[in-house]
């Protein structure tokens, strides 16, 4: 078991009433689903979602929607005329302004992707938990059936085990489409992030030196 304590996080508390199946979920998640409970806590992705939001608005406020700057640029255009100013305006619009928009947009897309992963992991865990509760109830019922017959006429224990295995198998089959859907969703989120990372890395490429633009 992972020693990270997620017991105080909101998504953990969602499942706090189901202590009886926590151990089962932990075991089943790690061995069968490659999913660690509670270590793979989606709450981290929610935190990441919130953190990614901050850059988007701040950048656009500074470069794209800055009224004071727009006013200054308008005044410069009205009072100056020449090839250097034209070149500056073209440069400003196509490089710093465009890059600010792209950084902001990429951050927004990544933000959406980590949000989606957060929701998908949460929904998956909730469904798995509820399915396990059903399985546990069905297995308990089976054991009850076995005990009642044991005291009355005696019964072949293998029949109970066979039925139990069948219930577990049914549970595994029921979870397969959900696992597949989770894999697909996480894969899509990864694709989005990789694509936006490539945009950011392009903007981050090493810059030329000694440009002779200084005063």
């Amino acid at each position: 078991m992972n020693d990270i304590d997620f017991r105080g996080t909101p998504y953990y508390l969602d499942f706090a009433d189901h202590e009886e199946v926590e151990e089962l979920l932990s075991h089943w998640g790690q061995k069968g689903m490659k999913f660690r409970w509670p270590a793979d806590d989606n709450w981290e992705y929610y935190q990441a979602f919130e953190a990614w939001g901050e850059v988007c608005d701040a950048l656009l406020a500074q470069l794209g929607n800055n009224d004071a700057l727009k006013k200054q640029f308008k005044e410069m255009g009205e009072k100056n005329d020449g090839v250097a100013l034209d070149a500056f305006v073209a440069y400003w619009n196509s490089i710093p302004l465009q890059n600010a928009r792209e950084i902001s947009h990429s951050s927004e897309v990544i933000r959406g992707a980590v949000w989606a992963v957060n929701r998908n992991l949460s929904a998956f865990k909730e469904t798995a938990m509820l399915s396990l509760l059903d399985l546990k109830k069905a297995l308990d019922d089976t054991e009850g059936w076995w005990w009642s017959r044991w005291f009355s006429i005696g019964v072949d224990r293998s029949e109970v085990e066979k039925k139990s295995r069948s219930l577990v198998h049914e549970f595994d089959l029921g979870m397969k489409p959900l696992t597949s859907q989770l894999e697909q969703n996480v894969g899509q989120a990864r694709e989005l992030i990789v694509k936006q990372k490539a945009v950011l890395e392009q903007i981050a490429k090493p810059m030329p030196k000694n440009l002779g633009l200084g005063p």
Partner: protein, 128 residues
Amino acid sequence: MAGPEGAMWNPDSLNKGSKAIEGIAGAVSELIITNDRIYDRRAPRPSDQRDPIPHHYKLFYADGLAVEVNAAAKAVLDALRNLRSQVTWGSDGLARMAKKETAVEDHNLAAAYGKLEKKLDRPEGETS
């Protein structure tokens, strides 16, 4: 005021423009510092929290994605650093135009901006 080659030239407005852009470069710097401190952005960190054996932790759903989220967090910081340089070049150019001996009819300055724009502009479709 007429520039050296007869163009309209107003150093005061150019200086004000340069200062305004300089202020934006400062704001981007602040943004870089703030973002560098947002550790939560890289919250799903497999190396910190997962099984220390790499081929183990890579098997899990969240970890493969976390690697990309972490890399994107680094990329956005690097992109912001370059953006700050690009903004500063805008400010530097306007300050140079405002100087008496250069003015807005500075063909060298125009050529420098043109070359810079060409060098920095990504070929269409390269990242899409």
